[in-house]
């Protein structure tokens, strides 16, 4: 099996070096970039399997990179990797199309695991992201809402999210709920899809609500 082709986009050279040192050997780092312009050019040129994407970056941040590449390179998968754990950033970049989000203090093996999962088309939820998602989808929605099935998590999806927020790995979630890992992955991917597609209105309201808590 050929190693996965990875690009690292981060404006801190030291961090790029650190990540490379941690995952090198298991993946093939084909490109690096430190701002939006160079990232877009580099990704278009090298078309890596997975892009490790920093959220805060000169030129408009990771969000801008995804926006510019999403149409022309729909196959490129983005894994957001950030020091910021503010809900605005996390939800924003996921809604733009990132397949997962992890914070920068993730360990090397965990990061490698996340990269593999994203490359395979699955979503990667850190406990914190799962918490945000539960928060965002917690309120009830008026029945009149057109995309009702989108704006709601099923009870099973909610359980999966809750367990991930509690610190369970996918394997442990599967064991806890007596389902297969494949099923857990299906649930997680469908939550990601709902998060990316659900109406702007609902998430705006969530953001408003949060400020008042």
């Amino acid at each position: 099996m050929t190693p996965l082709r990875i690009a690292i986009v981060d404006d801190h050279a030291m961090f790029r070096t650190g990540v490379k040192a941690e995952i090198d050997g298991r993946v093939d780092v084909v490109g690096e970039a430190d701002d939006v312009e160079s990232a877009v050019a580099m990704i278009a040129q090298t078309s890596p399997d997975v892009v490790l994407l920093d959220v805060h970056m000169p030129g408009g941040g990771g969000l801008e990179v995804i926006r510019r590449l999403h149409v022309r390179h729909p196959d490129t998968k983005f894994l957001a990797l950030s020091v910021s754990d503010a809900a605005e950033d996390v939800i924003g970049i996921i809604r733009a199309g990132a397949r997962g989000y992890v914070t920068k203090n993730i360990s090397g093996p965990e990061l490698f695991d996340a990269i593999e999962r994203v490359a395979g088309g699955d979503a990667v939820f850190s406990p914190r992201l799962a918490g945000f998602v539960l928060d965002a989808f917690a309120g009830t929605i008026e029945i009149a809402q057109v995309d009702e099935d989108l704006d709601r998590l099923t009870e099973r999806e909610r359980e999966v999210m809750r367990l991930i927020a509690r610190g369970y790995a996918y394997k442990e979630v599967a064991k806890e709920l007596f389902i297969s890992i494949k099923t857990v992955e299906t649930h997680v991917s469908s939550v990601l899809r709902k998060l990316q597609l659900s109406s702007r209105h609902e998430l705006t309201r969530w953001a408003n609500d949060r400020r008042l808590i």
């Binding site: 000169p58 408009g60 941040g61 926006r67 503010a86 917690a138 009870e155 610190g167 705006t204």
Partner: protein, 431 residues
Amino acid sequence: MTSRAASTAPVGDLPAPTYRRAYRPAERRLVGGVAAGLADHLGVPVLYVRLAFIVATWFQGIGVIAYLLLWRFLPLEGPDLSPGLESATRRGLRSGGRAGPTEIAQTIALGAVGIGVLLLIQATGRGIDDGLFGPLLVAVIGVAVIWRQFDDVAWSRWMRQTSGWAFASRVAAGAGLVAVAALYFLTKEGGWGAALNLASALVVAVLGIGLILGPWISRLLGDLARERRERVRSQERADVAAHLHDSVLQTLALLQKNAGDAAVVATLARRQERELRDWLYGNDEQPGDSLVAALRAAAADVEDAHRVPVEVIAVGDAPLDANVSALVQAAREAMINAAKHSGDDRVDVYAETGAQQAQVFVRDRGTGFDLDSIADDRMGVRGSIIARIERHGGTATIRSEPGGGTEVAMSVPVRAEHTPTETTSSQEDTR
């Protein structure tokens, strides 16, 4: 929406406003953000608001005038961001939400239809008098262009000055408008639409008077309390920043002294990370405020004392009452146990507050233990966790298997009047 407004707790020393204000969202402006702001305020899709403005324009341009007035008087509201995000936004390291291409296309189409209908009305001779329509259209576009240049900061400076050239030019413009209105009214008499002409003249006159009386009106309407709050907050932030930078220096000094001791280095780095992260991306909540704040404080203490990272994830929040305080105490005990005895290098804490109950889960993946083998006289688990929670009407269960880690699940009832963040009744999966 109203229930949310009603449940707003007073923040700091300022009483909660009893009315909801509309704002123009700074990050979602197509032109002035008026339609987006109104849509948020009224809870309707933004398309309807735009449609309403365009339809109103067919009636003597009321839509345009209303839009301009609202543009002037609705305050611009930047998103309320943490200092880290604010700074990242200012330095161009992140881009905010922006209107999608469909929304832009939709608005342009809507505008084109609006202008088309306007011209049609004009062609049938039922609109504004033919001689006036052309100049009026040009004038409106001119005003809109100037308005755009003038948005916000420049406007408020111009509108608030009570001396100097800005004052003079404003009064001149205002007087000019009043004069135009008077002339317009005096030279027109009777005929079709006299009443509407009178109304238009009145609006122009009011605009003129508004320009003259601008500073006073502006001061009246300007939200002074908001400005004061903003000033206090930015001063606070400057203080915190200074304190943090100071403590970063101290930490770095300590790290250099203890470079050989990995455990000390890790603890120091972790503590510094937490402080910075709280300040940059966290909320400015105090430990006395709520379940989540108290849990975070407890986690920080445990982390410092036992040198094991404790990660807190929270969904929803509840104010601290007797039950919730007991929950926090029990959770702290569980965290200490996990940090001390499990041998794991991290502890996960998850808190969820629903309409009926607040739950906290404390989990580690350490050695685990056999619950039955704990002697009855060991007070740690039974007394500090289970009994404490049960005294407050809650339940606490401990799941542990040797080698498989431990999870303590605790829940207490919360009073019904809290804002529920979750209304679906969920079956708990704790056993």
